[in-house]
Amino acid sequence: MAVTSQHLADPASSVAQPMKFLRRLPVRAGLTLLLVIEIYPIVWLLLGSFKRQDEFLSEPFWALPRSWGLRNYSEAFGEGGLGTYIRNSVIVVFPSLFLILLFGVAAGFALEIMVWKGRGTVLLMFLAGVMVPTQMILLPLFTAYFDLKLTGTLWPLVITYVAIGMPLTVFLMATYLRAIPKEMFEAATIDGAGVFRMFWFVALPMVRNAIFTVGLVQFFFLWNDLLISLTFTTSADQRTVQVGLLNFTGQYGARDYGPMFAGIAVSVLGTLIIYLFLNQKVMKGLTAGSVKG
């Protein structure tokens, strides 16, 4: 902290260069350590995904892979079934995401822009769902899906995801819609626009960015979900990426490292690449989801 205050006290100081360097040294060292802690596990993962079994067992952890062939990856996709898992995740996540956003924006509009008695209560009711742990709804849903003969398909995942995505999406969309000046809707009314035209041509364009941000946040929730997919996938060919990865160990025994690392790497890289391009939006969206009190 002493470093902090001195540094702040004279930002454009005329102190000699070596002094400045020394003073900043602890901060620099701390930052370097921080970055190593954050980034090294991923570097180690990527290097490991190219290593062969005997390299894991006999070489030190910092050794580079002997070859850069993609054998581990092809094994993860081939015998590991990673391709099927990714396909299942895609089939489930994107339709769910579309429905979550569509239903969420529409409900947000009805609750925030439209005027009727009891809308505050309904909004609160949606919000209460954020607190309830998913465990509280698993057993009835399991029974219901079984009775409806949906067990064995991917429908239970889609239906559950859409419902679980509702509270946060409705709440966030209502917040964003609140920020639109009321005059916009008054003007539209004077021009003779009906509710649905207003929804489509006034409200939607104004919250386009917000929809994208919320969609991004929900994407990460759904893609990374384990609990729901673990509960409702009954056979190996329905597994999503996360459930598949969890069972990777069993399939190869705990000792086959290479394909395992390749599998983890593929799973990590997907979200990492999205983050690389959209990090500012992701950071904004994920933190917005939590400041609701």
Binding site: A2, T4, S5, L8, V27, L34, L35, E38, L57, P60, F61, W62, L102, F103, A106, A107, A110, M114, V115, M131, V132, P133, T134, M136, I137, L138, L139, P140, L141, F146, A163, I164, M166, E186, A193, G194, V195, M198, W223, N224, L226, L227, L230, T231, V241, Q242, L245, L246, Y257, I264, V268, T271, L272, Y275, N279, M283, L286, T287, V291, G293
Partner: protein, 294 residues
């Protein structure tokens, strides 16, 4: 204006899909699950009404209490650490790195978006002792201590779980708290500094009180999230060794789906839900008081 925006049919059309799916898949199952707590059995072998037997079983069940204790311990320790580390990082961003903090902020944040399962499997390897020596044990060997079997003993497993979640989430809390710190008016800090407050005193008397609201909402968010821990534990230790790192979420899952006890599983789920609600209400009330006070 009000006649157009008060159109009842439009309200129903726009609200119905969200409300229907939310009611059918969340609200009704919550009540349904509560009803299960008075029954014994499952969907296949049928149900038998048992009154309060499940609750009596819960209060006398040592494993259930271990799960409650683990959940509470995990939630408290991780909340203190991740909000604390987040606040430390936020101070670093605002007061030390200042304009240059963008890249660091982005890098420290990224683990939040990674799939928990993948991160957990990776951390298993990072902390592995045998047959392959993971980086953590390799560093320990280099420092002169022998390899530690991190997953063979409850206390150590607990700390690996905590460390991993701290790695994943501190960047998130840092950004959350950073947003709060940036909102503190520059003049206020300058004025305090002219009065001779610097370093620790500046943080203690100016920055900390002013960021109290955002700190408290971080605490609520963190407690509410950590009480529901599931993915991390399942993928990292699977509750072991034995059942020593089993949180309530996993205990509920095992009871329900491994042993097919829907009634008792629902009882555990209801206890967890009650805990989440109580904690949120408690913190929420104390937050309100503090804000009105000033």
């Amino acid at each position: 204006m009000h006649t157009v925006l008060g159109n009842k049919r439009a309200v129903v059309t726009l609200l119905a899909p969200a409300l229907l799916v939310y009611t059918a898949v969340m609200l009704v199952p919550i009540l349904w699950s509560t009803a299960y707590t008075f029954y014994d059995g499952n969907a296949i072998r049928g149900f038998k009404f048992v009154g309060l037997a499940n609750y009596r079983e819960f209060f006398g069940d040592q494993i259930a209490w271990d799960a409650v204790w683990f959940t509470v311990k995990y939630a408290l320790v991780l909340t203190v650490l991740q909000v604390g580390a987040g606040f430390g990082l936020a101070l670093l961003y605002v007061f030390v790195l200042r304009r240059a903090s963008g890249v660091i902020r982005t890098i420290v944040f990224f683990p939040v978006v990674l799939p928990t399962v993948a991160v957990a499997l990776l951390f298993r390897r990072l902390f592995e002792a045998a047959p392959s020596t993971g980086p953590v044990n390799a560093v320990l060997n280099w420092l002169g201590t022998g390899s530690i079997d991190w997953f063979g003993q409850p206390g150590r497993s607990f700390w690996v779980i905590i460390l991993m979640d701290l790695w994943r989430s501190m960047g998130f809390y840092a950004v959350l708290l950073y947003a709060g710190l940036v909102d503190i008016p520059e003049e206020l800090i300058e004025a305090a500094r002219l009065d001779g407050a610097g370093g620790w005193r500046l943080v203690r008397h100016i920055v900390l009180p002013l960021s109290l609201p955002i700190l408290l909402s971080s605490l609520i968010f963190s407690i509410n999230g950590t009480l529901k821990v599931f993915d991390t534990v399942v993928a990292l230790t699977n509750g072991g060794p034995g059942s020593t790192t089993t949180p309530m979420t996993l205990y509920m899952f095992r009871t329900s789906f491994t042993y097919g006890e829907y009634g008792y599983g629902s009882t555990v789920a209801l206890m967890l839900t009650t805990m989440c609600l109580l904690v949120t209400l408690m913190i929420f009330r104390s937050t309100r008081r503090d804000i009105t006070r000033g």
